[in-house]
């Protein structure tokens, strides 16, 4: 009796191994990046796929020595998902989105109403994850993808994976994924910050270490692609660009930010010729106190930051001199406060809404959702009193106790 039972199970092995949804690794084409551009055709878009070649950079490379690390194709199609099949006119493998890392939209397209439609239609596809990063590029997305030539990474997915990890901590670009976008845009019409990038080097300027929009960083050699700053998306389309510095400040003023440690320089308060390099560390969350019962709306923001002094080119003793330390501390606080206030003013005047997720804090003051909508945050925020106070703690000064002094001839 038992034996018959076991034999009866054998047909199941055939069934359960699956014939319908089987995936043969050899037959997959993994799309790492999707780029979307406005098309010359009506009601169509240009979709660019960068498809990774899994054999390159693996131990299996000897089998495919002459194959490139990735293939880039551009198609003119009505939408992105159907492009998967159209792509098969060129590619022999099954196009798969399950390892998609980044979704790139050109600025030209992002500035139209189509942006919202494209982004929201894509998430219906079950292979596309909600943590795919959303990038807006200055030029056409297809140009950006083909220009992107990371020198240190052979495999394209590695490039985006590593970039993403750097972004999270350095704060030069916002943390922008599909998930963040829906979170912020569906709840209310809050401006959303997307990563801004370009592969065009243009009107280079000297903006210290972070006062740039993508394309302005003065570099020579290496990959032409620059990702710095943020595209501001509001009401389903892109309306503005923030510089790297503004993006960092915006990240700092949010309650919690993923970006928690970055290098930045300040003018030396005692020697205006030199700049001090510091590492800003945000260990504690920002304290945001939104007073919705006052007229006008009052927002008190307290940003605790810890600063490590990394280099002191001016050779002034900040380490042992208590007075200098206090001076430096209040000076940095002042600079940060001032810059932050400027940014807040910009958001009040230009976007009529905050990019700091303060409205989420304001919601705590209401018991019912309805009451919050009635409060009309946007209108109130426009004229709000915002008090920003950075609290700087000098944590350490690197491994030198005092600057090594060169003895000049006169001495």
């Amino acid at each position: 009796m038992k034996k018959i039972g076991i034999f009866a199970l054998i047909p199941f092995i055939l069934f359960l191994s699956g014939c319908w949804d089987q995936l043969e690794l050899e037959e997959q084409a993994y799309v790492v990046v999707v780029g979307v551009d406005k098309s010359e055709q009506q009601n169509a878009i240009d979709v660019t796929f960068q498809i990774a070649n899994p054999q390159v950079g693996s131990t299996d490379q000897s089998q495919a020595e002459k194959e490139p690390a990735s293939q880039i194709i551009t198609l003119t199609v009505p939408d992105i998902i159907s492009a998967k099949d159209t792509a098969n006119a060129i590619i022999t493998r099954q196009v798969t989105f399950s390892h998609l890392q980044s979704f790139i939209i050109s600025r030209e397209l992002a500035e139209t109403e189509e942006f919202q439609n494209i982004v929201s239609s894509v998430t219906r596809d079950r292979q596309i994850r909600r943590e795919v990063s959303l990038i807006v590029t200055e030029e056409k997305a297809s140009d950006f993808i083909s220009q992107n030539d990371p020198k240190l990474e052979t495999r394209p997915h590695k490039y985006y994976e590593l970039m993403k990890r750097r972004w999270e901590h350095k704060g030069m670009v916002p943390y922008s994924t599909f998930d963040n976008y829906f979170e912020q845009s569906e709840g209310k019409n809050a401006p959303f910050l997307a990563i801004y990038a370009t592969s065009k080097r243009k009107d280079n300027k000297y903006g210290e270490e972070d006062d740039y929009v993508a394309g302005q960083v003065n570099t020579k050699g290496g990959n032409p692609v620059q990702m710095i700053g943020a595209a501001v998306i509001q009401g389903g389309k892109m309306i503005d660009v923030l510089t790297g510095e503004e993006t960092r400040l915006a990240m700092l003023m949010r309650r919690v930010s993923q970006a928690d440690s970055w290098l930045t320089t300040y003018k030396d308060p005692l020697d205006k010729k030199h700049r001090l390099t510091t590492r800003i560390i945000k260990e504690k969350s920002t304290i945001i106190d939104v007073k919705t019962d006052t007229e006008p709306l009052t927002i008190n923001v307290n940003v605790p930051v810890t600063i490590q002094l990394q280099s002191i080119p001016s050779q002034i003793d900040y380490v042992k001199d208590q007075k200098n330390q206090e001076l430096l501390q209040s000076y940095i606080e002042e600079v940060l406060n001032e810059k932050a206030s400027e940014l807040v003013k910009k958001t009040q005047e230009k976007y009529h809404d905050d990019v700091f997720l303060w409205h989420l804090e304001a919601r705590k003051n209401f018991w019912k959702t309805e009451a919050f909508y009635k409060y009309d945050w946007n209108e109130k925020y426009k004229n709000a009193h915002v008090n920003i106070q950075f609290n700087v703690t000098l944590k350490d000064f690197g491994k030198q106790l005092r600057p090594p002094k060169a003895i000049s001839e006169e001495q």
């Binding site: 069934f15 359960l16 699956g18 319908w20 949804d21 399950s98 079950r126 994850r129 909600r130 943590e131 994976e161 990890r165 998930d179 829906f182 979170e183 569906e186 709840g187 309650r255 919690v256 993923q258 997720l357 989420l360 804090e361 919601r363 705590k364 209401f366 018991w367 019912k368 959702t369 309805e370 009451a371 919050f372």
Partner: protein, 363 residues
């Protein structure tokens, strides 16, 4: 080793309850709640469970009085031949329709999220065969299977909380009151049948070793299940934020997709598919068994087991009728839940009152 006698003890009973109710956090139940519960949806199951505990309390007192008899027999005893049969048939129909709708929605989850091209009838057939296979061996096997897998399910489930920890944003839960407490309470009342198993399982009272195991096991299971459901609904809101979460068809699957284990493993959903499939089989084996048992006891048949296979086939055939998921779920399931609440909530209380009146005045 204890001899098998067809009865289960406290831990098995608790696991069955935990699994069959707890699994609702993974299906479309949360999606139903988000519609009107908004940010405060997580309160709904909490209040619902409190509401349903009242009739459960009355049922327990009845079951205690009529030792060793299932709920259906108790109903017959109290209300007589004709009314008893009507109540039995209604309970049976509720469960049958529930089984059909639920199983179909589970199949849709698998079909939409994982196996796009596999025909639905094949997925459905696999689920029904597996569930019938467990159910045919009786309630004891269901209990033991549940007890066997519950530790793994629990560990994997709570691991998910850790995996999504970075994406949690507690401010998404505000305004705390959501649509207002009156709305929440109404929702809780309507959807209290999410926990209807707690009453229906009374029909299988005779399979639990004793009254104490039934009471305590049921309590432990229910508290666990409620905790999990509340926790996960809150997690969905914290990760996806309110209006956004309402647009996601399968929040649990979306959550497993966005979970990642450091940067090593970021396609965790396949692991969860495996554990979820196991729990679904237990869930539906209990549903099948319960449906068939109510049917059998209403018709005063001795053995429900031989009927399970034909019923599984019937569920399969009925479940294949709707063309797509939204036809089944949003139209029918919501109505069914509300109807079930309306019928099940007062039932034990009425039974108890009738029992009291008749007890004083013997016929």
């Amino acid at each position: 080793m204890k001899k098998l006698d067809g009865k289960i003890g406290l831990r098995e009973f608790a696991s069955v309850i935990m699994l069959t109710i707890g699994i609702k956090l993974t299906d479309m139940t949360p999606s139903l709640l988000f519609e009107n519960g908004e940010q405060a949806s997580w309160m709904v199951p909490l209040i619902s469970s409190l509401i349903i505990s009242i009739p459960v309390f009355f049922m327990l007192s009845l079951l205690k009085k009529y030792q060793d008899k299932g709920l259906i027999e108790v109903i017959y005893k109290i209300t007589g031949k004709y009314i008893g049969a009507i109540i039995g048939v209604i309970l049976f129909l509720i469960l049958l329709v529930g089984t059909i709708l639920n199983s179909r929605s589970y199949i849709d989850v698998i079909s939409v999220m994982f196996f796009r091209t596999t025909p639905i009838y094949f997925l459905y057939l696999s689920l029904m065969i597996a569930s019938a296979f467990v159910a045919m061996r009786g309630f004891e096997t269901i209990g033991r299977t549940a007890w066997l897998i519950i530790p793994f399910i629990k560990v994997v489930l709570y691991m998910l909380v850790i995996y999504v920890w970075e994406d949690l944003n507690i401010t998404h839960l505000f305004p705390l009151g959501g649509p207002g407490l009156d709305q929440i309470f109404l929702q809780s009342l309507e959807f209290s049948s999410i926990f209807s198993e707690l009453i229906l399982i009374g029909c299988l009272f005779q399979f639990v070793r004793n009254y104490k195991s039934f009471k305590i096991g049921g309590f432990i299971g229910a508290v666990n299940a409620v905790f999990d459901i509340v926790l996960f609904i809150a997690l969905y809101i914290m990760v996806f934020s309110y209006p956004s979460v309402n647009n996601i068809t399968f929040p649990f699957q979306a959550l497993t997709q966005s979970a990642n284990v450091a940067s090593v493993l970021d396609h965790t959903e396949s692991i969860y598919l495996a554990f979820w499939a196991m729990s679904s089989v237990v869930h539906f084996s209990l549903y099948l068994y319960l449906t068939v048992a109510i049917f059998a006891y209403t018709l005063k048949l001795k053995e429900p087991e031989p009927l399970i296979l034909p019923f599984a086939g019937f569920v399969l055939l009925m479940g294949l009728i709707p063309e797509n998921l939204n036809q089944t779920i949003f139209a029918t399931r919501e109505n069914l839940l509300v109807l079930t609440s309306a019928f099940l909530l007062p039932l034990p209380i009425l039974l108890w009152i009738i029992d009291r009146i008749r007890g004083k005045r013997p016929l």
